[in-house]
């Protein structure tokens, strides 16, 4: 079997009690690590979309989608592998600042088109949106200033164009 890689599975579910646990539990008990899982309502208030990123061998990804489709509350499950898609993640990053580093951090934020959403004399909180790689990149640059706290949403994904995800 080939090397594990990050695979994205988009799952459309009925809003029912326990559905998040069913979906996450199914993946967990197949022995696969969930890299990120994000969930929120869709255009139809009775359904939610979960975007799940797992570390798995490419040939297993479609199998996960098939197994997820067996869950009674799952309406659709799509392995996104290879399909052109829009992937985004949001992160809030709180870094240490001093009067000497403030300008440099603002420059970094500006290059990444990130917003500064909070500022004190000792901290700055930056909101960044983009592909996971972009979030990772700004984090690397900010790391040497000392990241005090961080929250990331995990990836959300939609397939490009008129095709359904």
């Amino acid at each position: 079997m080939s090397e594990p890689h990050s695979a994205t599975i988009s799952v459309l579910v009925r809003n029912a009690p326990g559905v998040l646990v069913r979906v996450a539990g199914l993946i967990r008990r197949r022995g696969v690590n969930i890299h990120s899982l994000s969930v929120g309502p869709t255009e139809d208030p009775s359904t939610s979309r979960m975007t799940i990123v797992v570390d798995t061998a490419p040939e297993r990804t479609e199998l996960f989608a098939k197994q997820l489709r067996k869950l009674v509350e799952v309406l659709r499950a799509t392995a996104i592998d290879g399909t052109p898609s829009v992937d985004r993640e949001l992160a809030l990053i709180k870094v240490n600042v001093t009067s000497g580093t403030r300008m440099e951090i603002m420059e970094i934020a500006s290059v990444f088109r990130a917003n500064i959403v909070d500022l004190t004399d000792r901290t700055m909180t930056i909101e960044v949106t983009g592909r996971t790689e972009k979030v990772d990149a700004i984090l690397t640059l900010l790391a040497r200033h000392g990241i005090r706290e961080m929250a990331r949403t995990g990836q959300v994904t939609l397939v490009r164009g008129p095709q359904n995800t």
């Binding site: 009925r14 009690p17 326990g18 646990v21 069913r22 539990g25 199914l26 008990r29 199998l63 098939k66 197994q67 489709r69 067996k70 009674v72 509350e73 799952v74 309406l75 659709r76």
Partner: protein, 581 residues
């Protein structure tokens, strides 16, 4: 042996006193549940009552013709429901109270999902206002059973009960069958409601695919017609979808050899000349060699688990694989399929049988026949120690393969799989996927309740029998005619076999000091026969099978050194098969 006099029951119960006068048509949730079960055609429920399910039991008190069988342990209730379902094809039903009652169902529910058995488990739950509060006898049963049920639900109002029960039965028996659990808080069972019963069921996202794709079926038919060394591998799905007549039609039309998985035993009459019996770890050498040499392998209703395949790369290495399953997630799970067909086995096989053309396979059959003659199953019965295989062989002869044989798990299970040749589907019942010790006797009891006119025989080991034998009391109480054959080798035999073959003969915790099972049986009010000499075996089996009105336990003292062979060691291939020579 004198039967205990029946204690007069039914002291006049006080009438139910609802707090407010009931409106017309009002019943409580438990009564709605009982009516819902009746509408699903349920005749028997196996269970044990408790605090959280008392309202349900109160409603069952006068629920004729719905029969409740009080068992002595909830594990027996669920195994009996599985045996009932597998013998009859109907949905089996069991019930337990909250907390420990429900957790005692867990093993049997896991068995049902592994073997795709349609059962509905109804559990009591603590009242709504204390859920999540660590109340007395509370357990998060829907959480606990989430990975081992096809679906489960916690019902939060009495008016939802009819729809919930109808959905549960629909989900249990359609598509790939499986267990469904319905958890009902005590106060929901007591809540008054005007139930609305419906035959409709709408579950968005649940649409089993029944018809196989026509082009794929055509491709499969072509591949089989052009094959030189084709084999059909039939699994439990053939039995679950009642597809045996269609399988026989395909086999008769093409002459292709058939191997059966453990769960598929009886899918084809095992005396059919095309039937090679069981394949896999303890299957026949010729069945395994046939699959190993096949150029086209049609797998139907089997999930190709590791006991069947051994090392995956070496399983059917030269074959184009056609895989038919109602569960799309099974196709390609372990072994990639060249021609995948998602659909119900009965419908797919019917189309295949109608279109099939016979391949030219005389030389293939010559080879298989040679293997079959040279390497049959064999055992040695001498004058003093009873060979367990001799007992299985004798049981097959005495019943002609026409009894419903139910086994426990271990060496005796494999010997029965090798020697018992059921003539029809639903005549060989065993815990295949989960391999539950303690399954055999309760499942046999359930099978007998389902098919009272059939001869039912449980074959158990001395280890497994002791895990659920307390329910001899239940079988005696209900006058169940059931032969229970204990292949008693004083050991956890399969553990002992592995220790002798792979752990240098260090028999760590595998030897048992047993009670006298015949006397145990008599203490319960059943009949008991102890068999110590080979010449007593046949008579004892006949006597047990003919015993009416009570179970009969035959304690057969067997040779402790006997091993199950052939054997393909775990994770290896046909080339590493250990033969009995």
């Amino acid at each position: 042996m004198a039967r205990q006099a029946t204690v007069p029951l039914k002291p006049r119960a006080a009438p139910l006193k609802p707090r407010a006068a009931p409106r017309a048509g009002q019943v409580n949730g438990a009564q709605a549940l009982v009516e819902s079960l009746r509408r699903e055609g349920v005749r028997i429920i196996f269970g044990v009552p408790g605090g959280a399910s008392l309202p349900i039991y109160d409603a069952l008190y006068d629920a004729d013709p719905l029969r409740h069988i009080l068992v002595r342990h909830e594990q027996v209730a669920v195994h009996a429901a599985v045996g009932y379902a597998r013998a009859s094809g109907r949905v089996g039903v069991c019930t337990a109270t909250s907390g420990p009652g429900a957790t005692n169902l867990v093993t049997g529910i896991a068995d049902a999902i592994m073997d795709s058995v349609p059962i509905v488990a109804i559990t009591g739950q603590v009242p709504r206002e204390v859920i999540g509060n660590d109340a007395f006898q509370e357990a998060d049963v829907t959480g606990i059973t989430m990975p081992i049920t096809k679906f489960n639900m916690l019902v939060m109002s009495a008016s939802e009960i009819p729809q919930a029960v109808h959905q549960a039965f629909y989900l249990a028996r359609t598509g790939r069958p499986g267990p469904v659990l319905v958890d009902i808080p005590r106060d929901v069972s007591q809540e008054m409601c005007v139930p609305e019963f419906t035959d409709e069921v709408t579950i968005p996202g649940y649409r089993p695919i029944l018809e196989g794709a026509a082009n794929q079926i055509a491709a499969a038919v072509k591949a089989l017609a052009e094959a030189e060394r084709p084999v059909i591998c039939a699994g439990g799905g053939v039995i679950g979808s009642n597809a045996s007549p269609e399988l026989a039609a395909l086999v008769d039309g093409t002459g292709i050899p058939v191997v059966l998985t453990l769960m598929g035993k009886g899918a084809l009459d095992e005396l059919h000349p095309r039937c090679l019996g069981m394949l896999g770890m303890h299957g026949s050498a010729y069945a395994n060699w046939a699959v190993n040499g096949a150029d086209v392998l049609l797998v139907v209703g089997a999930r190709l688990d590791d006991r069947v395949t051994g090392r995956l790369e070496d399983f059917a290495p030269r074959a184009r694989i056609i895989h038919v399953d109602i569960d799309p997630a099974e196709i390609g799970k372990n072994k990639p399929a060249h021609i995948p067909i998602v659909g119900d086995a009965k419908r797919v096989l019917a189309v295949m049988a109608a279109q099939a053309r016979a391949p030219q396979i005389e030389s293939w059959w010559r080879l298989i026949t040679e293997w079959r003659v040279r390497h049959p199953f064999r055992y040695h019965q001498n004058d003093h120690r009873i060979s367990a295989q001799y007992v299985c062989d004798m049981l097959n002869k005495v019943t002609g393969g026409r009894a419903v044989a139910v086994t426990d798990v271990g060496q005796h299970q494999m010997w029965m799989a090798q020697w018992y040749r059921p003539r029809a589907p639903r005549h060989f019942i065993t815990s295949g996927g989960l391999g539950v010790m303690g399954f055999g006797f309760p499942a046999a009891m359930g099978a007998k309740f389902a098919c009272p006119d059939e001869t039912v025989v449980a074959v158990v080991g001395d280890g497994g029998f002791q895990m659920t034998l307390q329910d001899l009391a239940t079988a005696v109480e209900h006058g169940v005619s059931l032969a229970i054959v204990v292949l008693n080798n004083g050991a956890l035999g399969m553990v002992r076999q592995w220790q002798s073959m792979f752990y240098g003969g260090r028999f760590s915790a595998s030897l048992l000091r047993n009670p006298d099972f015949a006397r145990v049986a008599e203490a319960f009010g059943a009949r008991g026969i102890r068999v110590e000499r080979p010449e007593q075996v046949e008579g004892a089996l006949r006597a047990a099978l003919e015993t009416e009105g009570v179970p009969c336990v035959v304690d057969v003292i067997c040779d402790p050194a006997e091993n199950v062979l052939p054997m393909i060691p775990s994770g290896q291939s046909v080339a590493e098969m250990i033969l009995d020579e």
